[in-house]
C-alpha cells in the first residue's frame, strides 16, 4: 500500500521562475493539504484541497496556488519565485478533511537561487 508520494524530491529554480510540485495521496484518502517548512522551523499550513476545491488557506500570498484532480492527486504551483520560497514542501493526505489524522510525504526540497 503506497503512502503519500511527492515529486520531484529536489528542485533548483531561479528567482522569478514558476514551479509545480506534485502529490499523490495515500490509497483511500481524498484530501490533500500542503505545508511549507523553512529550515529550522515547523511546517506551516498553505492550503487544503477537498472535492477538487481549495477549502482553506493559511497565511500565504496568492502566488501560491493549487489544484486537485478527480483521482485526488494534487499540484502546488508557486509563481514569481522569491529566495524566501526556498523550503521543504510537504504534502499531507487524509480522509474526509482529516477526520482520522494525516499522513505526510517525504517532501520536495525547493531551492531558489
Amino acid at each position: 500500500d503506497a503512502g503519500v508520494t511527492q515529486s520531484p524530491t529536489h528542485l533548483i529554480k531561479t528567482r522569478g521562475q514558476q514551479v509545480t510540485l506534485r502529490c499523490s495521496p495515500k490509497s483511500g484518502h481524498d484530501t490533500v493539504s500542503w505545508y511549507q517548512q523553512a529550515l529550522g522551523q515547523g511546517p506551516q499550513f498553505i492550503f487544503q484541497y477537498y472535492e477538487e476545491e481549495e477549502r482553506q488557506r493559511g497565511n500565504f500570498p496568492d502566488r501560491f496556488s493549487g489544484h486537485q484532480f478527480p483521482n485526488y492527486s494534487s499540484e502546488l504551483n508557486v509563481n514569481a519565485l522569491l529566495l524566501g520560497d526556498s523550503a521543504l514542501y510537504l504534502c499531507a493526505s487524509s480522509f474526509d478533511r482529516g477526520l482520522y489524522g494525516y499522513t505526510f510525504g517525504s517532501g520536495t526540497r525547493l531551492t531558489v537561487v
Binding site: 503519500v4 511527492q6 484530501t31 493539504s33 505545508y35 522551523q41 515547523g42 511546517p43 506551516q44 499550513f45 492550503f47 487544503q48 477537498y50 477549502r55 482553506q56 493559511g58 521543504l88 510537504l90 499531507a92 487524509s94 474526509d96 478533511r97 482529516g98 477526520l99 482520522y100 489524522g101 494525516y102 499522513t103 505526510f104 510525504g105 517525504s106 517532501g107 526540497r109
Partner: protein, 115 residues
C-alpha cells in the same frame, strides 16, 4: 488563533535514559493532538495522536504521551531512549473531526542522544 509551544529547542539525553518533550497548545475547541518525528531531510512520521478517550496514548517506537486538558499540555515520553531516536520532534494541533484549517505545528525540539 490556535498555537503550539515547544519550550525546548534542543534536548540532550544519554542513551538508555528517560525522555520527556514538552508541548503546550492553545486551541478554542476540543483539539486533535499529534506528535511527529522528522529525520534530517525527510518527511514527518506520525508517532501518536490523541482524539478522545484515554488521556494516556501509546504510539510507535515505545513512545507515549499524556493529554492534560487543565494544563493545555500534551507531553511526549519514552522510558529509555536509543541512539536511533535522535531526530526533530514536532507537536501539532488540529480541529477535532478534521476540517480545512490544517494542522498548526510547534517549532520543534531537536533531540540529541549522547552515548
Amino acid at each position: 488563533a490556535q498555537s503550539v509551544t515547544q519550550p525546548d529547542i534542543h534536548i540532550t539525553v544519554s542513551e538508555g535514559a528517560s525522555l520527556e518533550l514538552r508541548c503546550n497548545y492553545s486551541y478554542g475547541a476540543t483539539p486533535y493532538l499529534f506528535w511527529y518525528v522528522q529525520s534530517p531531510g525527510q518527511g514527518l512520521q506520525l508517532l501518536l495522536k490523541y482524539f478522545s478517550g484515554d488521556t494516556l496514548v501509546q504510539g510507535i517506537k515505545g513512545f507515549e504521551a499524556e493529554f492534560k486538558r487543565s494544563q493545555s499540555s500534551f507531553n511526549l515520553r519514552k522510558p529509555s531512549v536509543h541512539w536511533s531516536d535522535a531526530a526533530e520532534y514536532f507537536c501539532a494541533v488540529g480541529a477535532k473531526g478534521g476540517g480545512a484549517d490544517g494542522l498548526t505545528f510547534g517549532k520543534g525540539t531537536h533531540l540529541i542522544i549522547q552515548p
